[in-house]
């Protein structure tokens, strides 16, 4: 069981920013002449840290110095923020693109569930497409033939199997495509949930298939942003950050580490320098969590309201904005959503500095939590700035009035709901 099936050594992939090549044949020819005459290619300006502002023609390492091993039967989760290099790593693992440096040694067939429907030809019938798609995925004709009935049964389109797939409904199309991929039986399966488009049903199927595969002692590589799913499915994990492996090991430690990358120690006062997601006309520059005394703190008393202050710099006037806070547990699952629309309190941004404050009912039980914040343009419905899991905080057992402190040793759920209990009958 301890056989290594994937061994990644010094893996790196470099991309050039801006236009590819010099844009003209003549320019490329000049570079080529320089290259063969021993001089440096004019494009090799030097490395650029991927976080820095890059100039045109700079090279960026999307993945660099990555080393890890995957053992037979392991279910490994790869986690990291958007742009951490997860997809590039997967592309190299599935041989879609070659690394710039280093190598990957693989034992067994790798297949990934993001290939659903690859190579389907609209004019061919379902039957013909099963064979074609199966062959593209690496099955032999006899393998497909032996599984054909199973595939058709699984897809549930047996009535239409001799109809061209262009007449299929999109649901039938996806089901058929998935059925082929699901019967591939690779030694190593890659599931990229980030890219797995489709309905909930379909995603559930993917995860189900993944469980089956890992149950049979085969290796699975799982990429996801859903920490809950990662925790429940994987045994080990890798945290990617800026193209390198930030942490590797037990999956629980990985998830903790990943969430730490996002938040870092902030003591309830975060100065936001990184770019958020959104149109960017205004930026949340600083976020504070305030305690009862009105000073920044990362701990909130049990049952005390959660007060947050947004410092926003806006480059234009925006008459109507929505601001929201999502409270998440330490796995990143959203628990509560606080939005000014819910409480009918309109907000606006003036050009320059703005400060918003929000007070959220505290229904959380003691534990660690994360806050995701965002501002959105209320008239265009576009997100202006958004930061995921930007602030971490803790609910402590102590309450403002000592007698109201949380008295128990155990915490069953991250939050509570109000409830009324009464006895209806007794004999």
């Amino acid at each position: 069981m301890s056989d290594v099936v994937i061994k990644v050594e010094n893996l790196g992939k470099q991309y050039r920013l801006g236009e590819i090549g010099s844009g003209t044949l003549a320019g490329d020819f000049k570079n080529w002449v320089k290259k063969i005459s021993g001089k440096k290619d004019t494009f090799e300006i030097g490395e650029n840290d991927r976080t820095q502002q890059a100039k045109k023609g700079d090279v960026v390492w999307a993945v660099k110095d990555v080393n890890f091993e995957v053992k037979q039967g392991e279910v490994i989760g790869i986690i990291g923020k958007n742009g951490a290099g997860k997809s590039t790593l997967l592309k190299m693992l599935s041989r879609v693109t070659a690394p710039s440096i280093g190598n990957i040694k693989v034992k067994g067939r790798i297949a990934s569930l993001l290939e659903v429907g690859t190579g389907f030809h609209p004019d061919l019938t379902g039957r013909e497409n099963i064979f074609l798609n199966g062959a593209i995925l690496g099955m032999t004709k006899s393998e497909i033939r032996s599984k054909f009935d199973e595939i058709v049964e699984f897809s549930g389109v047996s009535r239409y199997i001799d109809t061209p797939v262009k007449r299929y409904s999109s649901g039938m199309y996806v089901r058929l495509a998935f059925a082929v991929a699901a019967h591939l039986e690779p030694e190593i399966l890659i599931v990229d949930e980030v890219l797995a488009v489709g309905d909930v049903e379909f995603q559930r199927k993917c995860l189900g298939k993944m469980k089956d595969v890992s149950g049979q002692g085969r290796t699975v590589i799982f990429v996801s942003h859903n920490m809950g799913a990662v925790k429940s499915l994987c045994t080990t994990g890798i945290v990617m950050k800026n193209g390198t492996v930030d942490f590797a090991g037990n999956i629980n430690d990985c998830v903790t580490q990943y969430l730490k990358i996002n938040t870092s120690d902030n003591e309830g006062d975060v100065v936001i320098s990184q770019k958020g997601i959104g149109t960017g006309e205004a930026k949340i520059t600083r976020l504070q969590l305030l305690n009862n005394q009105g000073t920044a703190s990362e701990s909130v008393l049990y049952k005390s309201p959660i007060r947050m202050r947004f410092y926003i710099y806006s480059s234009i006037d925006i008459p109507q904005v929505n601001a929201d806070v999502k409270l998440c547990d330490k796995d990143g699952s959203i628990l509560f959503h606080a939005l000014n629309l819910f409480s009918h309190e309109p907000l606006s941004l003036q050009k320059g500095e703005n400060i918003f404050e929000v007070e959220i009912d505290n229904q959380l039980l003691p534990g660690s939590f994360l806050a995701t914040v965002g501002i959105h343009n209320a008239s265009t419905m576009l997100t202006i700035d958004y930061h995921e899991n930007i602030l971490s905080f803790e609910i402590i057992k102590a309450a403002e009035i000592a007698a109201e402190s949380y008295p128990y040793e155990w915490v069953v759920a991250p939050a509570m709901v109000g409830s009324k209990w009464s006895k209806i009958a007794s004999s």
Binding site: M92, I104, L114, E115, H121, A135
Partner: protein
């Protein structure tokens, strides 16, 4: 530890990994089938369309170049002369045009899943061979008509007719290797896609499909056409069927060697592009 394969940045320019390609032979046959079946789905005439194109073009050529410009060699039916040239030329040109957009046309598939990329151009060459066979039958039928029924022409086929498979190999290699080179370059320079259609057309007039080599009087143009590696094959093919042309063994070998050199060059560029084309296409 023995691993099945290694993914790395290094790969020899001429490494073909034929073993792996063979593992995917089922894919190649299915791709051939797809090319063949998909093209004529939802048409009434189906594969009959394979006949229509060479017949129409040959008729047009017969009228323009045979009857108006009087360019056909003596003692050869014009229609047969053009049909013979067309059949062989078509095999080359369709191999070339179809392989030349391998990367761009299959970008969506190549971007998601790995299989030996070379299986696509190889399947193209094979499916065009099927198309050629159908057109070749047409040529044989027309030839039999002139040989047995309409005896006003005295067709003199030569034993070199046995070399037809060899002509095909040269044509396939030339089409494939030029196609590989162009497809590799189009990932970066899309301009070439526009140039291919026009270039193939131009090349046809430069390779004795329409104008017999013996009719070209200008010495420079004559030499240009003569050393075009396609010309010796077309000339020999016409000679084999007794429709003019000339058989020159040395020139045929010259074509073959050029084809091999181009093939090596084509494989090298293809291998180089194959590794990273997803980042540029």
């Amino acid at each position: 530890m023995n691993f099945d394969y290694e993914i790395s940045s290094k790969k020899g320019p001429f490494s073909l990994n034929l073993k792996e390609l063979w593992k995917y032979h089922d894919l190649i046959t299915l791709l051939v089938k797809r090319d063949y079946v998909a093209v004529y789905k939802q048409t009434v005439l189906g594969p009959v369309w394979f006949f229509v194109q060479p017949i129409i073009t040959s008729i047009v050529f017969t009228v323009i170049f045979g009857n108006i410009a009087k360019l056909t060699p003596d003692g050869v039916p014009g229609f047969l002369f053009f049909l013979c040239g067309q059949t062989f030329w078509n095999y080359f040109s369709s191999c070339l045009t179809a392989t030349s957009n391998t990367f761009v046309a299959n970008a969506s598939v190549f971007g998601k899943v790995y299989f030996p990329r070379l299986s696509v151009p190889i399947s193209v060459v094979i499916s065009n061979l099927l198309k050629f066979s159908i057109q070749f039958i047409l040529l044989i039928v027309v030839w039999f008509y002139y040989f047995f029924i309409d005896k006003s022409y005295h067709l003199q086929p030569s034993f070199s007719i046995l070399l037809v498979p060899f002509y095909l190999i040269i044509m396939a290699l030339l089409g494939l290797s030029l196609g590989l080179i162009i497809s590799s370059l189009t990932t970066k320079y899309r301009d070439l896609t526009f140039l291919v259609g026009f270039g193939v057309q131009l090349l046809m007039y430069g390779s004795s499909v329409v104008i017999p080599l013996s009719e070209v009087k200008n010495p420079t143009i004559h030499a240009l056409i003569q050393y075009n590696p396609i010309t010796p094959v077309l000339e020999a093919a016409k000679h084999s069927f007794g429709c003019g042309g000339s058989f020159n063994f040395y020139m045929l070998m010259y074509s073959f060697i050029v084809a091999i050199i181009l093939l090596l060059f084509g494989i090298a560029t293809f291998n180089k592009v194959e590794k990273t084309f997803m980042d540029t296409v």
